[in-house]
């Protein structure tokens, strides 16, 4: 005989808040009932409710504004792992305005991970571009792109704050990305990443490492990106 269990208070709170948003058709910016009312409706303690709100806020579902209440968040830009689009495209899909802040842009000697992923001799000069990418002026991710310098002469002179790397590669260098292979894991932001993304050091972030290849399977770009999870979604729709 299978054990019958009650829905735990924490699940009741979590599911209850999501159901409330859904069944009341609340949209971005609209308020949820007060904490006291939510506790009564869901019959959970204040502590349990706050834990649930913190979890939903970490996932970018709601935003808790001190003194003002809890509000539904706008849709976050999403990366679809089954159909990876450029950053600007992902941001435009949720009707936000994409922009980039260039942190650094120049030539340096390849470190081991970079040379390995791009199949370069150790210490080979690589072009490295570091950008904070934003949606409606909100920091979404910090992205490091590395390309073999000899493949893209003069690229360090380009201003990447308003042009995409893919565009420059296609237009100025005749290089076309045809395949992407990437890996997403979770880690904590270091002090620099936190400062650049407007998050405390030690915050949990998605960490993506990827290689972009041309039609001949030659690796063109190696990128490392740190995403702020409450401002960005990573999803995958698969057909089996």
């Amino acid at each position: 005989m299978t054990k019958q269990t009650e829905i735990s208070p924490s699940d009741r709170a979590h599911e209850g808040i999501l159901s409330y948003i859904d069944s009341h058709g609340l949209s971005a910016g609209e308020p949820l009932p007060s904490e006291r009312d939510l506790c009564r409706m869901l019959s959970v303690s204040r502590t349990t409710l706050r834990t649930a709100l913190a979890r939903l806020s970490a996932s970018g579902i709601v935003e808790v504004r001190k003194g003002a209440g809890t509000f539904v968040c706008p849709d976050r830009p999403a990366m679809h792992l089954d159909d990876v689009a450029g950053f600007s495209e992902m941001v435009r899909r949720v009707s936000a305005a994409p922009s980039s802040r260039v942190i650094s842009c120049g030539i340096e000697a390849a470190e081991k991970e970079v040379s390995e992923r791009l199949y370069l001799p150790d210490g080979e000069p690589v072009f490295t571009l570091a950008r904070v990418r934003l949606a409606d002026a909100m920091e979404i991710c910090l992205e490091y792109s590395h390309l073999r310098a000899s493949m893209v002469p003069g690229i360090e002179g380009i201003d990447f704050s308003d042009v995409s790397l893919v565009e420059v590669l296609e237009r100025d260098y005749g290089i076309f990305i045809r395949h992407t292979s990437l890996k997403v894991s979770v880690r904590r932001a270091d002090a620099r990443e936190g400062a650049l993304l407007g998050k405390p050091e030690g915050s949990l972030v998605f960490y993506e490492r990827g290689v972009r290849l041309n039609a001949d399977m030659k690796p063109i770009e190696f990128c490392r990106t740190v995403y702020v999870p409450d401002r960005f979604k990573i999803v995958c729709e698969s057909r089996l």
Binding site: T5, S23, D82, Y119, S181, V235, C236
Partner: protein, 251 residues
């Protein structure tokens, strides 16, 4: 064994000449896969054959293949060899099948094993009533499992299944049938899955199960599986730690 392999390595292209041997071998294998010489589902030559052919050690060949495993191009099946996971289309057309949790994290490396930690029945409730389109007063079957690779735990997976769609599911021996197999036998073959990644922090009891520390970062994956009629069949949440706690995608 292909005739082209060795000559490619020797003649090489200028780009490859400076590279350590294992990276050159990796790139050559990649190209063979891209060109379809090693087709999806078939085995590539054994490590022994490859090392003989390239005139190097098995360790070097293994190093070359490890990178291809990381990229999701091939998978190593213990005692059987290394297989091409899926094809690459050299014309750049999409030929991509995203790698789901089980696929990417378990099948890819070593021997998986699954231990059932707990099974129980709970009320559906409003939230899952909407997800599964069933009555909120019905029951959900809950299975909590620990997934291990080579005996080492790396993920806790918690699955909820509506009893209204699968009456009697609680009587099934899930150590014999996989859940997907069971759904199929009942006429609900999973054809589509929606996954969303989450960042998580381990709670003390999760950390204990996973041989990790409380508050360690973990990768969460929420996955809803659907049949051809669009019916949601199960909602699974997994929590993974360690080097296997990653999600691979290729296109």
């Amino acid at each position: 064994m292909s005739k082209g392999l060795r000559s490619t390595l020797r003649a090489g292209n200028a780009d490859l000449q400076h590279l350590p041997l294992y990276l050159r071998i990796r790139q050559i294998l990649r190209e063979r896969i891209a060109e379809g010489e090693y087709a999806p589902g078939t085995a590539i030559p054994s490590e022994a054959d490859l090392s003989q052919f390239f005139g190097t050690t098995k360790a070097t060949v293994r190093g070359a293949i490890d990178g291809l495993i990381d990229e999701g191009l091939v998978l190593r099946v213990q005692g059987k060899g290394t297989f091409v996971a899926r094809g690459l289309n050299v014309d750049g057309e999409r030929l991509h099948v995203p790698r789901g949790f089980r696929d990417s994290q378990i099948l890819q490396k070593h021997a998986p094993s699954i231990r059932v930690l707990e099974t129980s029945i709970r009320l559906v409730g409003d939230f899952y009533a909407r997800m599964f389109d069933v009555s909120p007063e019905g029951a959900l079957y809950h299975v909590r499992r620990l997934n291990c690779i080579d005996g080492e735990p790396f993920a806790i997976e918690s699955t909820l299944i509506p009893c209204e769609i699968f009456p009697g599911i609680e009587e099934i021996d899930i150590s014999v049938f996989s859940l997907y197999e069971f759904y199929s036998l009942r006429g609900h073959t999973v054809v589509r899955a929606y996954e969303e990644l989450e960042v998580c922090e381990l709670k003390a009891r999760e950390a204990q199960l996973l041989h990790a520390q409380a508050d360690d970062p973990a990768l969460g994956i929420m996955c809803v599986s659907y049949d051809a009629g669009g019916q949601a069949l199960e909602c699974a949440r997994s929590l993974a730690v360690g080097e296997n706690a990653c999600y691979l995608a290729r296109q």
